[in-house]
């Protein structure tokens, strides 16, 4: 039994959405990681402000990709979703804990004014940015190694604590930090912060090297822990892997040459990350869990898959332009977090001293009587309706 075209198409959409989450949501997590590593309150002030300013308007939009991943998975591949969420209860619960803490830290840090409260919410935000990608990585590692049973009973600790899974967890953290640092280089440059541009270029280079090393390590681990995926990664998916490596090296080269091109640098770094996700998806094909749960056995009835296809189409039609609008405004510097009410308050206070406009005239006697009559009629009708025998069944 081979997978239907609809199942393959929805699986492809799922992989694209995952790549999008890695690029957008991942960058936000990475921002948190750099926030964590920015040092003391004094020293880290400038980079922290830049991180904050570039993430704040967009993080909620970026976060929705994750919701889409969950919904797509449970709609299109319900048995796989149920199995993953049963067996990998622990890392998934920890990753959602990270999401809660991060969101809360984000929501409240802007209103916290005293320094120690700021530091507390900032620390929560930063630490959570580390937890979430790590445990999401272990989940993906567990799936890729085929350690998730198709019908699990209770937690399966061994599934996500294998060396491959842990390696994948670290790879996720490093990749988030990498993609984020590259974006921040451009953010700093756009705002004309010379020193911050260099600051993040250095970190992007370091994170790029570490990510590359971890990716290599994970691949090596996969050769023993998941021969099927390894075989396809070095077989049919090899072009994608090669593109990823080439793009990664190209980014390092651009950073070395200080050629901070707003489009090329961003796109190349994005390609380096996205191709890894696509490569993983291709390597798993045609399995949801290699090699125990094939796509065909784990997918939903056709109509549900077609519906997801329609949803994806709607998303492209509605969400894509909206996203473009958001990023356009953000890149143009039209979205600012800091604002002041001073202008309005002055004007408002002034207005209060002005003589107030005459109030609209109250209802005339005629209107009053008419209203009362209408209300009485409605009331009588209602009471008659309730007790009239014609409604009896």
């Amino acid at each position: 039994m081979s997978a239907s075209a609809e199942a393959i198409a929805v699986a492809a959409i799922l992989i694209v959405v995952m790549a999008a989450y890695a690029l957008f949501g991942g960058a936000d997590f990475g921002g948190g990681i750099w926030d964590l590593l920015a040092g003391s309150a004094e020293r880290g002030m400038a980079p922290r402000e830049l991180i904050d300013e570039s993430i704040t308007p967009v993080w909620e939009g970026n976060h929705v990709w994750l919701v889409f991943i969950l919904v797509l998975t449970w709609t299109a591949f319900p048995p796989a979703f149920a199995a993953i969420f049963t067996a990998l209860f622990v890392p998934l619960a920890l990753s959602v804990l990270g999401i809660v803490l991060r969101g809360a830290g984000f929501a409240f840090r802007h209103t916290a004014q005293r320094l120690h409260m700021r530091q507390l919410t900032g620390a929560v935000f930063a630490a959570a940015s580390l937890i979430t990608p790590f445990f999401m990585g272990t989940v993906v590692g567990a799936i890729a190694t085929g350690r998730v049973p198709v019908h699990p009973v209770g937690n399966v600790l061994a599934a996500w604590t294998s060396p491959t899974a842990l390696f994948t967890g670290f790879l996720f953290v490093a990749a988030c930090a990498y993609i984020s640092a590259v974006y921040l280089v451009l953010e700093a440059r756009r705002r004309g912060h010379q020193d911050l541009t260099r600051y993040f270029a250095l970190r992007a280079t370091a994170a790029g090297v570490i990510t590359g090393a971890l990716a290599g390590g994970t691949l090596a681990e996969l050769s023993t822990s998941s021969p099927y995926v390894y075989g396809r990664l070095t077989g049919i998916a090899l072009p994608l892997v090669a593109v990823s490596i080439a793009a990664g090296i190209a980014v390092l080269g651009m950073l070395w040459l200080r050629w901070y091109h707003a489009v090329f640098l961003r796109a190349t770094a994005a390609i380096a990350v996205a191709t890894v996700v696509w490569g993983w998806g291709l390597a798993q094909y045609p399995y949801l869990f290699p090699t125990s749960l094939p796509l065909a056995a784990g997918s939903a009835p056709t109509a549900a898959l077609v519906a997801e296809f329609v949803v994806a189409g709607l998303a492209v039609l509605l969400v894509a332009p909206a996203f473009a609008f958001l990023y356009y405004l953000q890149q143009r510097g039209r979205l600012t977090a800091a604002d002041t009410d001073a202008d309005l308050r002055l004007a408002a206070r002034l207005e209060q001293t002005r003589p107030t406009q005459p109030a609209a005239a109250p209802a005339s006697t005629g209107t009053r009587i008419t209203t009362a009559l209408v209300l009485a009629m409605i009331a009588i009708r209602a009471i008659r309706d309730v007790f009239s025998p014609s409604h009896r069944r």
């Binding site: 929705v64 993953i84 809360a104 009835p301 509605l318 209060q352 209203t371 409604h391």
Partner: protein, 483 residues
Amino acid sequence: MDALTHVLAVNAVNPVPARSQMGSSLGFHIILACFGIAFAAITMIAEWIGIRRGDAVALLLARRWSKVMAVLVAVGAVSGTVLSYEMGLLWPGLMGRFGAAIGFPFSMEGIFFFLEAIFVGVYLYGWQRLPPWVHWWSGMPIVVAGILGATSVVAANSWMNSPAGYTLSHGKLTSVDPVSVFFNPSTPYETTHMVLAAYMVTGFVIAGVYAVGLLRGRRDRYHRLGFAIPFAVAGILAPLQVLMGDIIARFIANNQPIKFAAMEYVTTTSRNVPEWIGGIFINGKVYFGAAIPSFNSILVGFSPHTKVIGWDSVPAAYRPPLVTLIHLSFDLMVGIGFFLFALAAWQGWWWWFHRRLLLTPWFLVPSAVSGVAAIAAMEAGWIVTEVGRQPWIVYRVLLVSQAVTSSGGVPITLGVILVLYAILTVVSIGVPMVMSRRWRQETPAEEDAEQVPYGPSPATASATGLPPPPTVPRASPGEPKSL
């Protein structure tokens, strides 16, 4: 009913911790969700008044509300994600079997959530540098997506109450009709009820805050307008909600008779069923309750002779637990509904004939608690619908005990969720309070000194469409009679 026999053969897992966790997560999220659905609309009304009439007070309110909205929407986005996770973490038995069916409304919700999140970003951070009307319109998608998103996600819940649009063979889902899933029999009732509730909760909560301010003697136009806008929105919808509730109760009596029986203490199927108001159900008898003879039959079928189905019609294993909780929650919801209706009618009457805001404590004290009351009513309503559906997770198709996870960690996650949400609740209430205190203390001069790092140049102040702030000494707020 071969699903029933199939169900009985399955070994049950204790679902109480998972149910408690789902209940507390939903109960927490639903409050924030209300603000996600309705806050933007109320803010935009203030902004519209502000731009249209050059009213700085209204604009100030709108801008400050949007700051509070930023906090609440962020927490709501997060607690909503927790719910998505919990669908899998707690109920893999539901998702594995029916994920394909229930997934479609959730997918639609995903799109609307996306639009909402994007435009919240534009609206919240666009105050300074977008032209006034462009900014106003950037809020419109939040309003539309909020309503449609709520409709979608409540449609998923409706499906659990009246499953439709799927075919099972041998306990396996073989085909799905996503449109029938979305528009299942309960959808029109539940979604309308919830969207109205969201606007009422948001409106009465905001109005309640300003009612407290008015009670404390801050009777300037800022507080009066801050009270009037949200109160008008919620108050206009209050009678509609009472009407809707009546229609829904009749629908439930037909569609989920056992739930209705628990709501109204209908023990045995009969005619001339009395309507119990209050009362505790112990061992087949109702204590401390007042019964209106035959009134329940009248409400269900407009006649005392209407037959109402009692819970004796199903085996004890398929009756909801905690009937007292269900009944009292239902009474509480209905009672508060009428209370809010009365409050709105009172102000409405006064406004119609006197064009004035009621400022007597007799009105303001109840108004101050109207927000809390609206939240309580909504929570009670969710208790009725969720506990009333027990022991089913999908009504008459799948038991909760079949859907619950076999993972052992739920008591721990329940504990973590309770602690975390307690903190989040305190902070979600505390942050706006701190904000408002800061707003009251601020004088323009101080704030100008404060905004150094990326504050816009004073020239952008004209983006509000107002003349540049004149430098006149502050006058004490007057006491004009009208708004």
